[in-house]
């Protein structure tokens, strides 16, 4: 555990190595990346196992000294960090392996692996940061990695736009984070998590200030985790290669916002308002994104909206003081969502389209991907005995126990939506008849299916570390020695589990009737409420609204400023040069060699001088 700082360095070495020698290695660069992340994974698991027994380890060195102030850099291995290390390095390792098959034949194969290494380094660095400043640095690095990978197919206009959008949207949130961080530093004189929590506990910070900083930091998390209203970048980020979507935009980076809120949980918990804000934003995002997911036809976009929705669940859990529930769902979601994305990638790899309207009947052709996708779908839908069931149940209980009854019912409806759209996706892709001609449909190579298999196993069993039946092992461990985080297991009424099961089964049933058995017409609802359907289909016109308001206003301002620049600034410059030029030209013209001209000028000059002399009364 003393050497946990090595974990992020393996991918960094891989990144630097591939940057230098990638061109020569060609596709062999995959092995460099896979080995590096494997090393990280093994080490992370060792650290986690060690952490189960021993207390938190924290090591720091002075980085900068400014006056009396010492800024430190180091690492910390607490329960949350150890867990995140394993999640990130595991998903990263599997995605590295998977990409070897998926990206096969791509011209920029080594570059892809280099970027993956950079991202993994940043993400691992983020989760072991002991202070806010270091977190912020890695936070931004993660954003860069995401930007590079979304824009990996930079020759596509849409990918370029999506990369820029992702970067700018998250930057908006980051400004909030930065301001919140600075305010905290101003109040407590430290970036260290421990000292901030101590100051909060002592009451050294006023209540309003706590609320303010917590909400500002939450804005950063909103940007990174694709919460409403900054969620629009995440579906567009699906322009990147599918393994990237699995790694960054499902399992790790987007969970960074949740991680940030979780690691600053004592700060949030000190303010009722901040907690309520987090919970409301989370619940609203959960149902909002789920409703959009109901009608999307792009396989990756459905998954993207489902990610947004699930992240909303995590925020709801954290906002309802369900620290364990939030982190637990973060973990299970990382597994089953990465699985779903990788399986979707495998489908795309096989049929070369992302439009589910064109797919169908793939169950028999993709004998391996199909069942794996089904496992992921069952897990995310919250079907009993799968991991998603336990974590979603925890969240619902947390929301209920905290007294957020309205939000609780929102979450239940969102769970219904989730089950429905996930199974709609499943039925449309895998059952029925093929809706378009598909040639050469083939199962993916084993280098792609094996990582999915590992994730599928985890998607099934990961839930059992924290169940109401066999004991809340994960929960008890997470909050051990830290009362500020709440209880390991929140007791809730038993009927919640039944309700959760019922709605998810109901959703599946409805999807089955509409998309598989066809006993209910598909446009039963869309033909009855065309306006509502149109609104949802167009993602509530959020992008359009942003285009019309923020983007338009920004463009208008920039146009205005451009005019100022063109006419005022440029005008001044032109005026200066024109004056000088005119003076020079006149001077040149005057110097024409004509004695009489010179005489005239001399005389006029003399006359002017005399006039001035006379007017000033001789005192110049």
């Amino acid at each position: 555990m003393e050497n946990a700082w090595l974990i992020p360095l393996f991918p960094l070495v891989s990144f630097l190595f591939l940057l230098l020698f990638g061109k020569r290695l060609k596709e062999a660069s995959a092995f460099v990346g896979i080995l590096a992340t494997l090393a990280s994974l093994v080490y992370s698991i060792l650290v986690l196992l060690e952490r189960l027994e021993s207390p938190t380890h924290k090591a720091e060195a002075v980085w900068l000294t400014i006056g009396n102030l010492e800024l430190t850099a180091g690492f910390e291995v607490n329960q949350l960090n150890a867990l995140m290390l394993v999640i990130v390095s595991l998903v990263s390792f599997l995605v590295h392996t998977y990409s070897k098959g998926y990206m096969h034949g791509d011209e920029r194969f080594p570059v892809f692996y280099a970027y993956l290494g950079l991202f993994t380094f940043a993400m691992l660095g983020l989760v072991i940061s002991p202070n806010l400043l270091q977190t912020y640095i890695f936070w931004e690095l993660v954003g860069v990695g995401s930007f590079l990978l979304i824009g990996f197919y930079f020759y596509k206009e849409s990918a370029k736009a999506a990369a820029k959008k992702a970067f700018i949207m998250t930057r908006i949130g980051d400004v909030g984070l930065l301001i919140g961080m600075i305010l905290l530093f101003w109040q407590t004189g430290s970036f260290e998590y421990d000292e901030i929590f101590a100051a909060v506990e002592e009451g050294a910070i006023s209540g309003t200030m706590i609320t303010l900083t917590a909400i500002l930091i939450f804005i950063g998390a909103v940007g990174k985790s694709g919460q409403f209203p900054l969620h629009t970048w995440l579906p567009d980020a699906m322009e990147g290669p599918t393994p990237v979507s699995a790694l960054i935009h499902a399992a790790t980076m987007v969970a960074a916002g949740v991680y940030l809120v979780a690691s600053l949980f004592p700060l949030f918990n000190a303010s009722e308002t901040a907690m309520l804000t987090v919970a409301i934003i989370g619940a609203f995002t959960a149902i909002f994104a789920a409703s959009i997911g109901l009608v999307q036809n792009d396989i990756k976009r459905v998954l993207a909206y489902s990610t947004v929705s699930q992240l909303g669940y995590m925020m709801l859990a954290l906002g309802s003081a369900g620290y364990v529930a939030g982190v637990f769902h973060l973990m299970t979601h990382a597994f089953f969502k990465a699985l779903l994305f990788l399986a979707a990638g495998s489908v795309i790899h096989a049929v070369h389209t992302q439009d589910i309207e064109k797919m169908g009947g793939l169950w028999k052709k993709l004998t391996f991907t199909g069942p794996l996708f089904l496992i992921g779908t069952l897990a995310i839908s919250g079907v009993p005995l799968f991991s998603g069931f336990f974590s979603k149940d925890e969240i619902l209980i947390a929301a209920w126990a905290h007294g957020n009854y309205g939000l609780f019912w929102l979450a239940v409806i969102a769970a219904f939506f989730t089950a429905f759209y996930m199974f709609r996706l499943f039925f449309m892709v895998f059952t029925g008849e093929a809706r378009s001609e598909m040639k050469n449909v083939h199962e993916s190579p084993s280098v792609m299916t094996l990582p999915m298999l590992v994730l599928a196993v985890l998607a099934v069993v990961a839930g059992y570390v924290n169940t109401p039946w066999f004991g809340a092992f994960l929960g008890d461990w997470l909050v051990e020695g830290n009362e500020a985080l709440g209880h390991g297991h929140i007791a809730g009424p038993g009927w919640i589990m039944i309700v959760a099961t019922a709605v998810s089964l109901l959703g599946i049933l409805l999807a089955w009737m509409m998309y598989s058995k066809n006993s209910i017409s598909r446009d039963w609802l869309s033909s009855r409420a065309p306006i509502a359907y149109g609104v949802v289909k167009n993602k509530y016109y959020i992008d359009e609204i942003y285009n019309q308001s923020v983007v338009f206003a920004t463009k208008a301002i920039s146009l205005f400023l451009r005019f100022i620049e063109l006419f005022v600034v440029e005008g001044l410059v032109k005026l200066t040069t024109a004056t000088v030029q005119a003076l020079g030209k006149t001077g040149a013209k005057i110097q024409n060699g004509q004695v009489q001209t010179y005489g005239t000028i001399a005389f006029v000059g003399l006359a002017v001088l005399m006039v001035i002399y006379a007017l000033t009364g001789g005192y110049l």
Binding site: Q591, N592, G593, Q594, V595, Q596, G599, T600, F603
Partner: protein, 104 residues
Amino acid sequence: MSSVPVSAYLALALILFCIGLYGALTKKNTVIVLISIELMLNAVNINLVTFSKYGANPSITGQVFALFSIAVAAAEVAVGLAILISLYRNRRSVNIDEVNQLKN
């Protein structure tokens, strides 16, 4: 004492000077320019004589100075005409606006 006021003399000198200046600056023919310069010199001479007679401290010095100036002007005209003639020989012209070799 005559009844002619000082200002009349000065006005005469001024008018004479202005005519000379105008001629010197506008005429094309160098001979006319030289004549105009003579006019200006004489305007100055009138001033000198006027002040030597009616100035704050009347003295003969002013008239002596005027004589000096006339003598110098004569010498100057001689030199000027000499230059003019040599110029004419070189360029077959006495137009002052064609004399601008120094420019290039």
